[in-house]
Structure formats: C-alpha cells, structure tokens
C-alpha cells in the first residue's frame, strides 16, 4: 500500500514541477520587451501582413488562459517556435545537438562516479591518512575552481601547447574518417572536455561517499559483522559500502542539473557542438525562443532524473517508502 502511495506521490510531484516550468516559461516569453511577433518580424524583416499572420499564429489576441492552453499544446507537440539565430524551428536545432552532450555528460558522470566512489571509500576506510587528507584538499580545490578555467588551462597545456589533442570541435574537419578511425577521432576530441568535467565532479562524489561511509561505520551491524569473524575487506564490501552507496546513487541523478551547468561552459571552451555550446550561442544573440526551448529541455530532464532518483531510492531503501 505504502509503495503505491509513494510512487503516485512522487509522480504527481514531478508533474506539478513540470507544470510550474511551463507556466514560468509562458510568462517569461510574455514579459520580453515588445511582443514576440514583433521581435521575430524584426529579426526576419517581414512585411506587415506576415506580422499579422504571426500574431494570429501566436494567438496574441486571445485571452491569457487561451494563450496558455495554446502554448502548452504547441510545446507538447514539439512546436517550440522559430530560432532567431538559425531561422529554423527550435526543436530541430536542439535535436541535432543532443547527442554530443549526452556523450560528454554520460562519460564524465560515469568516470567521476567511479573514481569519486573509490576515493571516498578509501578516504573513509583509512580516515586521516595522508591520501585521505590529500584527496580531501584536492576535492576542495577542484570544487572552488570554475570548470571553464580548468578547461582553458588544459586546452592551453595539452592541445595548444603540446599538441597532443585537437583544440576543439568533435571531428577533424575535412578528414572524412570512417569506421574505427572516425570513432578514434571523436574520442580524441572528447578526451579533454570529458577530463575537465570529470575533474570538476569527482570531488563532490568523493566527499559524499566518504561522509556517508563514515556515518555507516559507526553502526551496530558492522560490529556484529566483525564479531561474526568476517574479514575487514568483506565487512567493508558487503556491509558498509552497500549501505553507504544509497545517498551517492541518488546524488548522481540529483546532480544532473549541476553537470548540465558545467557542460555549458566546458562545451564553449572546447567548441564541443552540444546543447551547452548551443546555450552559450543563444545567450550571445540573445535568441529567446531557442533559450526557452533549451531551458525547458534542461528543466524537464533534471525533473525526470530527480523522479528516477526518488524511485530508485524508494526501491533500494524500504524505509523511504514507509515514511
């Protein structure tokens, strides 16, 4: 019974949050100086009849609730307006740029989680050792560092300076690689941005894993496990780490908003043609329809990730469901 209520509650909460985003986006679009049709017309040098047509398309003469209904309908059907900069439908522009970001964010998150967990586990296990203190300090320093600055330094050192990696983009222009060569080329371009984003994320995962493992280590069931005569490594692996993983697992999903923010500047530094670079380009114009489409996509993705995190947490920890 509790499980069903928990599930429904979480889904309702996420739906409400998405609705909030829609309302927010709708009103934001209306407070832009000048009405949207005018701006679009200025951008495209349209004749007056076309402006009237656009106003009819946007439904600007309708009452606000009707406009909102129209907006929601458009959004749900993927009609996000026309980008000022690219002069094409926003949805199409965004769709082209999704995969590079998924690749970059996915690899960095995986790498940062794996390395961060290991560092955190070791830190908690050998608390106060030189390596623990060193990694704590390094984590703090990386936390205090703007990701893009780290990216610029890596770019200067390893791409522009030593020439080990390309300075930007996702493929070597005009090389026309196929098969394995093409994949290697992409990986070559991916390396530095992925390292930058990973380094920026490791610290937080390590700190969370360390503190949640330290919390678990004081629990009675660990004393029991030791009293049973289990070896220390087994106590750690089977009893301590398993339980300490809970907060970290959900953090990975909860952190997606933070990763997205990091990806925006890192993609700009390495001209990685993903959603982050697109956001930076859109902010530069500023291209409002595109910005709003991106904001919507980022928000909905993060909300969904949060929902998934809540569901995983509920699955892994029965106490949450009961509460």
């Amino acid at each position: 019974m509790g499980t069903r209520r928990y599930l429904l509650g979480k889904v309702a909460q996420a739906t409400l949050t998405v609705l909030f985003v829609l309302i927010f986006n709708f009103f934001l679009f209306r407070v832009i100086p000048g009405d949207p049709a005018q701006i679009l017309a200025r951008a495209k040098h349209l004749p007056k009849e076309a402006v009237v047509q656009l106003e009819r398309d946007f439904g600007l003469h309708e009452p606000i609730p009707k406009q909102f209904a129209l907006y929601v309908e458009d959004t749900v059907t993927g009609n996000l307006g026309i980008s000022y900069k690219f002069r094409r439908p926003v949805a199409g522009v965004i769709a082209e740029r999704i995969w590079p970001t998924v690749l970059l964010v996915g690899i960095s998150t995986l790498a940062a989680t794996a390395i961060g967990l290991l560092i955190g586990i070791y830190g908690a296990w050998r608390r106060g050792s030189k390596l623990d203190l060193g990694s704590l300090g390094t984590s703090l320093v990386f936390y205090a560092m703007p990701e893009f600055w780290l990216g610029i330094l890596l770019l200067m050192g390893f791409a522009a300076g030593l020439g080990w990696f390309p300075t930007g983009g996702i493929v070597t222009p005009g090389a026309g690689y196929t098969g394995v060569a093409a994949a290697t080329d992409v990986l070559n371009h991916l390396f530095l941005p992925a390292v930058t984003l990973t380094l920026a994320l490791i610290g937080e995962y390590a700190l969370i894993m360390r503190s949640s493992l330290l919390d678990v280590m004081g629990e009675d069931y660990l004393v029991t496990a030791r009293a049973k005569g289990l070896r220390e490594a087994l106590v750690l692996r089977r009893h301590a780490v398993r339980n300490a993983l809970l907060p970290t697992v959900t953090l990975v999903a909860l952190n997606l908003g933070f990763v997205v923010s990091g990806a925006i500047t890192v993609e700009l530094v390495f001209s990685w043609p993903g959603l982050g670079l697109l956001t930076a380009e859109a902010a530069d114009v500023p291209d409002f329809p595109l910005l709003q489409g991106l904001f919507l996509l980022f928000s909905v993705t993060v909300i969904l990730a949060n929902l998934v995190a809540d569901l995983i947490y509920g699955y892994l920890d029965p106490r949450v469901r009961a509460a």
Binding site: Q13, L16, T17, F20, V21, L28, V31, I32, L140, V141, Y143, A144, M145, P146, F148, W149, I152, L153, L155, M156, A160, G161, T167, L256, G257, F258, V260, S261, I264, T265, L268, V269, T279, A280, A282, A283, D284, P286, F288, L291, Q292, L294, F295, F298, S299, V302, I303, N306
Partner: protein
C-alpha cells in the same frame, strides 16, 4: 524600563538601577559572539580562510591606491601586446597592452561586490520565506516549500542565463539573477531551524503572555536562527562568486566593468590559450580559487561551531 529607554542616572549612594532587558539581551549576545570567536580562533582551517579573505577585501578596498585605474582603459595602456611577466609588469600584459596585475586587482572589486550583494539578497529572500514557512505553517508552508523545491530542482545556470539575457547584461542584473536563484538552500535550512525553535518552552511562554507573531519572530525566532544563517552566508558567497564568474564568462556580466570572470572571458575570446599567454589566464583564475576556497573554509569552520547538529561530533 522594559521599552528599552536609557535609565536616568542613579542617585549617588542609591543601589544601581537594574539593567534593561534589552541591555541584558545584548550583553548576552556579545558574550556568545566572543565565545564563538574564541573557538573560531583555534580552528586552523577557518583562520587560514579568514586571513586570505581579509587580504582580498583589503586589496579590493584599496585597489585605486595599489594600481592606477587609468591602466584599465585600453587607450591609456602603456605596455606592449601580450608581454610576459617583467619587472615593470609583474604579471605581464594583455592583448591591449594593459597590465594583468592592474586588471586582477581591480577585478576583485566587482567579483567581491557581486558575491556579497547577491548573497545578501539571497539570504534576505531565504530567511523571510524560511521563517514564514516554518513559523506560520499550514498552507503557507506547503506553498512556500513547493516553490523552494521548484527552485532547487531547476538547473541553476540555464535559469540564470535565461533571466540575465532577458533583463540585459548589467551589474544590478547579475546581482539580481544570482540572488533570486540561490536562496532555496537557505530557505530550507531556516525553515528547519524555525520549526525546532518554535516548539521550545520559552516561545510557548512568550505566546502565553500574549506575544504577537511579529514579536515572536523578531525577538525569539530570528536571534536563534541567525547563527545558522550566518554560517550558511559564507558558503553562499563562495557560490555567488563562482556564479558571477561563469555568467561573466558567458558574456552576461556588465560589459563596462572588469571582474575576474570578464578578464577570463576577454582572454579566452582573444585567444590567450592558443597564444600560450598563461600570465593572462592564471592570475584571475587563481584569485577566484583562493577566494572561493577561503569562503568555503570559513563557512565549514563556522558551521562546525554554530550548527548544534555537528557540535557533538
């Protein structure tokens, strides 16, 4: 006397007038502040952070004395283009021939100003909403916490970018944008603390004596929530400074003022990294890292001292 007016001078020989309740409250607060300071002084991490902070605040305050502000204008730049460090220009020059040291010194002013001002705004919003939600409870709590959760979930940078590009880049814009997007953490913290303070016996006693909502909030809730807000503030400044840097790097800062973020933005777009001009890229970045690290260290130290939940550890 309870209205806090100063007592008339006592007659010589007469017993001294009892101090007013306000005087008692303030002397108690002074003593507890002194106690916190004594504990803080023994905290090595906190003191290191504080020393770094004082250094940067002094640099920001005396920037015009340390480096001639004329050196910020491209037309009056005296150095060569992209010169490495020399005796005359200890940190080299940028692509317009300006001293990077001068830029970094003056950049501290905007970076710190935005950090402090945005934090103040964020603390104000967070405290008011947090106390309102915790103190009044019921539907107000439900509505405010929904709002807080919403702001917590929405990815910060995309939201800040949308707002900043809508309002147009300027100094007030960047302060506003960072302030209105970074308060939810504070609001939750303040709400939790308010909920626990609200149930304490002395608040019940004050309520039984007929104290109204405003009196309870300003005299009993706020003084007890304040330490938590204070520790949280220093951590928020660190985040606000990082946010300023990021927004400026994306070209959403005030285009007419030099901040550490805008130096990096200009350096990057002018190709400092391909030119290998490390002296242009390192100083502003290191300044950011040091200041953010310092605020974080002070914040952790204060949290350890002021947060009752952590004290027993």
């Amino acid at each position: 006397m309870s209205d806090g007016t100063i007592a008339p001078p006592a007659e010589p020989g007469a017993p001294p007038a009892p101090p007013s309740p306000r005087a008692i409250a303030w002397s108690r607060r002074r003593r507890s502040a002194a106690r916190v300071w004594r504990t803080f002084r023994k905290n090595r991490m906190g003191m290191t952070g504080l020393v770094i902070l004082v250094f940067f605040v002094l640099v920001a305050l005396f920037a015009p004395l340390l480096a001639d502000p004329a050196g910020l204008r491209a037309t009056e730049a005296t150095g060569g283009v992209l010169e490495g460090p020399s005796l005359e220009y200890p940190l080299g020059t940028d692509i317009l021939g300006r001293s990077v040291l001068t830029l970094t010194i003056h950049g501290s002013r905007i970076s710190l100003l935005v950090g402090f001002a945005a934090t103040l705004l964020s603390m104000l919003i967070g405290s008011v909403l947090g106390i309102a939600a915790g103190f009044y409870g019921r539907w107000r709590d439900a509505v405010l916490m929904r709002l807080t959760d919403w702001f917590l979930v929405i990815p910060f940078l995309p939201l800040a970018i949308v707002l900043a590009s809508l309002i147009g880049p300027s100094l007030p814009t960047i302060i506003f944008v960072i302030g209105v997007t970074s308060w939810p953490g504070t609001a939750r913290l303040v709400r939790a603390q308010t909920l626990s303070v609200k149930e304490r016996p002395y608040v019940e006693r004050a309520r039984a004596l007929g104290a109204g909502g405003w009196h309870l909030v300003t005299r009993h809730i706020l003084p007890n929530v304040f330490p938590i807000i204070f520790a949280n503030t220093t951590l928020t400044v660190a985040i606000a400074i990082l946010s300023e840097t990021t927004l400026s790097f994306l070209g959403l800062g005030d285009p007419l003022r030099v901040s550490w973020g805008s130096i990096l933005e200009f350096a990057f777009s002018a190709g400092a990294s391909t030119a290998g001009a490390w002296w242009w890229l390192l100083p502003p970045g290191l300044a950011i890292v040091l200041v953010v690290l310092a605020f974080t260290m002070v914040g952790y130290a204060l949290d350890e001292i002021l947060n009752p939940r952590l004290r027993s550890r």
